[in-house]
Amino acid sequence: MELITGIGATGSALNAQKTRLDIVAQNIANAQTTKTAEGGPYKRQVVTFQAELAQRMAGRPGGSGGVKVAAISADPAPGQKIYDPRHPDADTQGMVTMPNVNVSREMVDLITASRTYEANLSVVKVARQMAQRTIEMGR
């Protein structure tokens, strides 16, 4: 029995959104990184979500199925090439391949993630108040 209902799913969602915020921060931080350990410019990372216990949920939609991070994968899109012959990572033609990070797009992602995080927080608040009412029922 959960006294505060549905808090399990919400907790996992808060975690997942936080991971997403971390990845967005990483992408923005590396928006100009042209050299990485794997070689080549930094690749934008994308977080994919997955419903938790998807197979067990199939029969009963009532379970407290949360969300988890399915994968953090690299965006395969090619990075923009700019002409800068004095750049240490420039090729023989003087072109530098920049990371495929679009900062304005990352900002949109940042706001979406933070809004979803807030929505989940208000679920916690409501669930808590409901539990409080239930406890006070006999008084």
Partner: protein
Amino acid sequence: MVQRIDSSLTLQIAQKSLDACVLRQQALSKNIANAETPGYKRVDVAHDFADRLKVAVLRGGAKGKLPNATLVEDTKARVQRADGNTVDLENELLQLNKNQVDHEYLTHLVGSHYKMLKTAITGRNMA
């Protein structure tokens, strides 16, 4: 004949509705948690629960058989995103608040019912 203390029909209806409320809270928190999960379909308390409860009450449900609320996939929900997700975050938050008010009303109802019982038992006003 002495009636059982918890046999009041109002109390039974309130209990079933309260169960539905808690179930709904679970569904809504699940939906909001999965607002960004590709292909997730929103769940909700079965649409016909209120009708089934009403029918059972009209048939004189005091003798026991009131329906239980169940969670089902909401097939009427429109697809909100290209990945097939049917969660509309604003609507979920709206329903969450509505559900909270419903819950508050029902707990108040049950609470005052018990208060009445206490008054009847002790002969003192417990307020």
